[in-house]
Symmetry: none
Subunit: 209 residues, 4 copies
Amino acid sequence: MDARTPSALKPRKRPRQARARVTVDAIFEATIQLLLKDGPHRLTTTRVAERAGVSVGTMYQYFPNKQALVYALNERYLEVLAEKIESTCRAQHGAPIGQMVEALVDTYWRAKTERADVTRALYRSVAEMDNQTLVDDFAARVNAATTAMLASASDTTLDDLEATNLTLVTVIFGTVRNAFERTLPAAQAEALRGQLVTMCRAYLDAVTA
Amino acid sequence: MDARTPSALKPRKRPRQARARVTVDAIFEATIQLLLKDGPHRLTTTRVAERAGVSVGTMYQYFPNKQALVYALNERYLEVLAEKIESTCRAQHGAPIGQMVEALVDTYWRAKTERADVTRALYRSVAEMDNQTLVDDFAARVNAATTAMLASASDTTLDDLEATNLTLVTVIFGTVRNAFERTLPAAQAEALRGQLVTMCRAYLDAVTA
Amino acid sequence: MDARTPSALKPRKRPRQARARVTVDAIFEATIQLLLKDGPHRLTTTRVAERAGVSVGTMYQYFPNKQALVYALNERYLEVLAEKIESTCRAQHGAPIGQMVEALVDTYWRAKTERADVTRALYRSVAEMDNQTLVDDFAARVNAATTAMLASASDTTLDDLEATNLTLVTVIFGTVRNAFERTLPAAQAEALRGQLVTMCRAYLDAVTA
Amino acid sequence: MDARTPSALKPRKRPRQARARVTVDAIFEATIQLLLKDGPHRLTTTRVAERAGVSVGTMYQYFPNKQALVYALNERYLEVLAEKIESTCRAQHGAPIGQMVEALVDTYWRAKTERADVTRALYRSVAEMDNQTLVDDFAARVNAATTAMLASASDTTLDDLEATNLTLVTVIFGTVRNAFERTLPAAQAEALRGQLVTMCRAYLDAVTA
DNA sequence: TATGAATGAGCGTTCATTCAT
DNA sequence: AATGAATGAACGCTCATTCAT
């Protein structure tokens, strides 16, 4: 929950107590399940509350409105994802650049694949409401991390760090999303991931020469 | 309108007269504008009709329900897009492979950029309703065209045509989509396009060696 | 079309020409079929016109609105029915009273049974719109005919002609309607008709004694 | 609410609290009034809710759709009516048969007359939706009660119990309905009831002889 | 504090009716 | 005279949100 979160979407209270955290988790889980089962346009506050085992009233104590719920769900998801990426970037600090992109692709791909259902559910929910802020914040954060990582490469210096970074990030994230929407068989998906690494490495060779 | 279109989504009548075509176009245009302005969940039949300057009743003479409208809009768009890609693929038949991917990226990028608003509106609308059929059909069609093109490359033979093709298509389409969602400044977008070509060429060099 | 028909329900033009009569018949027939197939609340002007093979516009030249159509249909049906009853009453003039009621029951039952589907369709349609006038007029007309018939009985004089007549008519018409709504098997229906005659005869014996 | 009620028509929740019962009663009452004032085709959910002094939403908490409302109204009415008839049949067990039919006519007539407006409203509403199940169930229930009663007559044994029973029930119910649709003046209605008893008695004498 | 009954604006859709052609 | 595209009020129904208990 950074300072940029629009106030209308801010959770009403932070889950300080253990009980509150359990409740919020149940609500999030219920939301994901319903998103998956029925799609975003069938997601209703009543159903979420019911499945989460709380009353609507209680739900409105944690989230001021429906959009805030979806917003918070995505926020939490992107927070975890950003942390994973930042962690990878830190771990790869000073490594050879080829290894860096491989690690980046792996991290991102694995994160998305771990709970593929959640990934798909959230991709669908983001478009629904206006969660652009969230996406932009995530992009900025990832950008900072990957830029710092690439700048520290032990084996090369990039002429145009900004452009190369933007390219890599856009290509990797875009490709992964597209791969998800095609619902490829596991073998093909795995092969694709390998090809993506190959491609990124080849690209870096080309712009580094 | 291919035979696979679910019957519930089939337009009720085709616009035979000039006047009818104008009406249908106005409805499509209104839909795009509303999709852009308010997002898919604010798209209502009343608002579409109002903005198109027709009555709801008239709208329902052309589309049996709201979903059919969005479906038809995407269908029309993807039809044009598929034709452009097929045309490019035919034109590049027998060309050197590097030139092929450059042409493919250019065609796709230009098509998406020509009316960026439409592109963005439709990206948002696809997730909403069940337009998976549409997307799958489009993918299959494009796949056939690009596979045939790549197979005819004058300067090389690909070891694993299928895999390479899938990779290229997924990367290009995914990257373009992601680039659009970031709403980059024109210069950066242009640079990105160049980098994408570089990357694809480098990849082909790598897998062809 | 007697003078009591509310003006809003009056057909716009009488079918003078042969062609017009054919059209009106087609419209009536279409109405009956739709009434049977889908029930009164699915009866729409568009569907009637379509099934009758004319345009809605043409239909509105014969009937100023939907209610007028249903009204006219019932009117025509009741007209024919009233004529049959009047004819029977005239034929039974001066006959023994027991034979009179038997003839009355037979005529009414046969008329309703001839096209049982139409009977049922119309029973359902009458309740829908306000066709009370029609029903009242029919009742008055039948009343006059049966009263005259009963008064002429060769074998008896009724003490309270009015009351006996009302009783017979109400019982016969009510019983037939109820029998229709129960959709009895043919044999049971036939038996019931016989019992009804027996009952009416027994009643007349009782009030004549 | 017997097990045969189609699930789509089942009330959503039973009125447990006193307040809820008041609400449901108000909705029923409003439905009756509107049915009487405007007829079934003018009965709209909005108008019912408005007249009942509740919101549409509240109405939909008790009834899943409009048809279910009309269904429940008829169900409640027929339930009470069936109980009255069964009660009469039990009370007349072993009595002389003439007294039996008199009691049956009296009970039925009084029940219908008590709230003539309700009677008329429901007669009009039954045809509208598919309440045939309801009517059939009612018929079967009444049939069992009257058959048992007639079989126990102290002064006679019927040759064809089934046929006689069907005749009596069809005649009585049909006559009452028809009498209601004619909206007779009180005196005439009362006389008619007497005549109906006379007729039934005479019929029984005839088939018993 | 937690509940869930109540609200009512607003949705997608239908269809009787009109009128330009 | 005949057509049928266009109209838009009105329908049945949903669901985010509130608030008395």
